[in-house]
Symmetry: C2
Subunit: 355 residues, 2 copies
C-alpha cells in the first residue's frame, strides 16, 4: 500500500478536530457518486457487486467511519437513551444501570449516563443536556421534586420513565419498588420477634422512598399498637458520620432501642460497623436493612434485609421506555415491584429479657 494520509491535510490555520475522510472522499477515491457510498455503508440494495467492492476498498484504505452526528441530524433519531441516577458508584445502581444498558443494547441504542449526586439542579442540568443531544428517551432516578421543566421535552417526543422514585408535579411513567410494603414488613417482622422499641435510620425525608419507608415504619408500629418516640426516628443525609451519631444516640439512650431498621444499604453498612465496634452487649441489637448487599449473609449474624431487585427495576423501566418509543400510547403508568424479606439472623434476634 502506497496510500498516504487520508484526506489531504488542509491548510486551515486552526487545527481542526481530526480531519477525517468523509463519504465525499470515499466517493472520489472509488470514482463513484456520493450516494452510492451511502448505499454501501448502509447496506442498501441496488449496488453492483463490483461497485460495492471498489467502495469497500476505498473505505478501508481511507479508514472512513460514518459520522453519526450528521446521520442523526438528518434522520432525527439518535438511537441513544439517557440514564440519570444518583451515584454510579453506589452498589444499588450498578446492576440497575447494567440492566438498562442491556435493554438498550438489545434495541441497538447506546447509553449516556450521568450522576446527579442527589442535587436537583445538577439533575436538571444533566437531563437538559441529554435532551439537547436529542436522546430518544430518558430513564431518570430523580433527585428533585419538580420536573415541570421536562414538559416541553416530553411534548416534543422524548420518552421518559422515572425509576425508584416518582416524578414531581408532572405526569410520567414510573417504576418503583414497594418501599412502604417492604418497610412495613421489616418492622412487623421485628415486632413479631418481640421488639417494642425500634429505631428507624432513614434518608433525607424529601426523598420519596425515604418518606414511604418512614410511613411503613409508622404503619407497622401503629398496627401493633406501639408508640413511636421521636428519638427513635432519625432522617437525614446518609453519610457515615451522621448515621453513626444517630445510631449511637438511640443505642445509648436511657431506654435504648432494641432493634434498628436501616433505610438503605449505605445506612445498613454503617450501622453494622457501629454495632461491631461497640463493646458486645449482653443482648445484641436486632437489625434489618432495606436493600440487599453482597456478603450480607456472611456476617455474623447474617443481616436480614428487605431485598429489592435493582436490576429488575432497571429492566422494567427500560422495557417500558422502549415500548413507548415503539409507539405504545396510553396514560402514564406506575409499576410497583414487590420487595422480599430475607431472614438471615440479625432480624430474628430477640429483645433483652428484661424488656
Amino acid at each position: 500500500m502506497t496510500d498516504t494520509a487520508p484526506g489531504t491535510a488542509s491548510r486551515t490555520p486552526t487545527r481542526r478536530y481530526g480531519t477525517r475522510p468523509t463519504m465525499k472522499d470515499v466517493a472520489a477515491r472509488a470514482g463513484v457518486g456520493l450516494k452510492t457510498v451511502s448505499r454501501v455503508v448502509n447496506g442498501e440494495p441496488g449496488v453492483t457487486p463490483d461497485t460495492e467492492r471498489r467502495v469497500q476498498e476505498a473505505i478501508t484504505a481511507l479508514g472512513f467511519r460514518r459520522n453519526d452526528s450528521a446521520r442523526i441530524l438528518r434522520k432525527g433519531r439518535t438511537a441513544s437513551i439517557g440514564l440519570v441516577l444518583e451515584d454510579l458508584a453506589d452498589p444499588f445502581y450498578g446492576p440497575l444501570s447494567r440492566a438498562v444498558e442491556e435493554v438498550a443494547r438489545a434495541h441497538g441504542a447506546l447509553l449516556i449516563n450521568g450522576s446527579s449526586a442527589e442535587d436537583p439542579e445538577r439533575e436538571q442540568e444533566l437531563v437538559l443536556a441529554l435532551c439537547a443531544r436529542r436522546v430518544d428517551g430518558l430513564v431518570i432516578i430523580p433527585a428533585g421534586h419538580d420536573h415541570r421543566y421536562l414538559a416541553p421535552e416530553m411534548a416534543a417526543g422524548v420518552a421518559t420513565v422515572f425509576v425508584d422514585r416518582p416524578a414531581g408535579r408532572i405526569d410520567a411513567d414510573a417504576v418503583l419498588a414497594d418501599s412502604f410494603g417492604g418497610s412495613h414488613d421489616a418492622v412487623a417482622h421485628l415486632i413479631a420477634h418481640g421488639h417494642r422499641r425500634i429505631g428507624f435510620l432513614g434518608d433525607l425525608p424529601g426523598i420519596h422512598t425515604a418518606a414511604e419507608r418512614l410511613r411503613g415504619y409508622h404503619a407497622a408500629m401503629s398496627e401493633a399498637g406501639l408508640p413511636v418516640h421521636d428519638a427513635w426516628v432519625s432522617l437525614g443525609p446518609t453519610d457515615p458520620e451522621r448515621v453513626r451519631a444517630a445510631a449511637t444516640t438511640m443505642l445509648d439512650a436511657a431506654e435504648p432501642v432494641t432493634a434498628l431498621f436501616a433505610g438503605n444499604n449505605r445506612v445498613t453498612v454503617t450501622v453494622v460497623r457501629v454495632l461491631a465496634e461497640r463493646p458486645a452487649p449482653a443482648t445484641p441489637v436486632a437489625l434489618i436493612g432495606f436493600d440487599d448487599f453482597e456478603l450480607a449473609d456472611l456476617l455474623s449474624p447474617g443481616i436480614t434485609v428487605i431485598a429489592q431487585d435493582s436490576a429488575q427495576l432497571g429492566r422494567t423501566a427500560a422495557d417500558l421506555l422502549f415500548r413507548r418509543l415503539d409507539g405504545a400510547g396510553g396514560d402514564p403508568r406506575r409499576v410497583v415491584l414487590p420487595t422480599r424479606l430475607i431472614p438471615r439472623g440479625s432480624g430474628e434476634l430477640p429483645p433483652p429479657a428484661t424488656s
Copy 2:
C-alpha cells in the same frame, strides 16, 4: 413551493408531535435574524438587552432547546467521551466509572458508556460505535488483545487511554495498577507467616492483570525457594461454580494448600463463601484477596487484601485523557499506580503446626 417540509410549517401554534422548534422558528417569532438567536443562545456578546429579551421570550414560549447534534456537526467537537468497561455492575468499576464521570463533568463533557462483558468483539463494536458518534476521547478497559482497529481513529484525533489493562498490538496511553507487585507482596506476606503450600485462584490467563498476578505469585514463591505444584494454580472464568470447584479441589487434596490467594474481588468473595461453608477445620485456611471490597473488615476474620484504588485509576486515566485533548503531546505513557496490602486477619493466619 414544496410545502411538505415540517420545519417550515406555516402556523406556529400547532406543532406536530416529535417536531421541535428550531432557531429559525425562534427568530421568526422574535422578529430577528437567525444568527441573533444563535448569539443569545450561546451568550455571545453583541446583542441589545431589548433584543435579547425578545429572543428569550420566544425561546420560552416555543420551548426551544438547541439541537446539539447540529452543533456538533458544525463545530467538530462533541464534548463527550466514551467509557468502555467490562461490567458496570461490578463493584470494582462503579467508583472507576464515577471518577471518570466527575473529571468529564469538570471539563464540561458527557459520558457515554457501555459494557463489553469481557467479549473482544463486543468491545470493538462498542468502541467503533462511540467513534462513529465522534466522541472526543475514549477510556477503555480492554477485553481483547488486538486494538489495531483503533489506529485510524487515533490517527484521526480520538484521544484514547487504556485502564487496568494495556492495549494490545498498538501503542497507547495506559493507566494500570501494580498487579505484579501487589501479587508478589501478597504471596510474600503469606510466606512470611509460615505458609509453603499456597494456592492461586485467578482470572482467565489471557487477561493482562491475571497474567501479571500469576507472575507475581511465581516470583514470590521462587524467591522463597518454594516449589509450585500445578494443582495449586487455577486460572479461568471467575463464575462462582468454577472458583468453588477449584478451591475445593485444592483444599481437599492429599497435601492441601494452607493458604489461598484470590486473583480478584469476585474470586475472593466466592472463596470466602466456600471457606464459610466447609466444616471448620482445626486450622483455618489463610486468605488474601486482590482488590478491596466493602465489608471485608467486618467478616471474621477480616479479609486481608491487596487494595487498588479504582476511583484513582479512573481519575488518573480521565485526567490524562483530557490533558491529551488539551493538546499534550509526547509518546504514549504508561502510569502504574501502587497497590497496598491491608492486613485484616485472614492473611495472618498461621499454617497448621503439623506442616
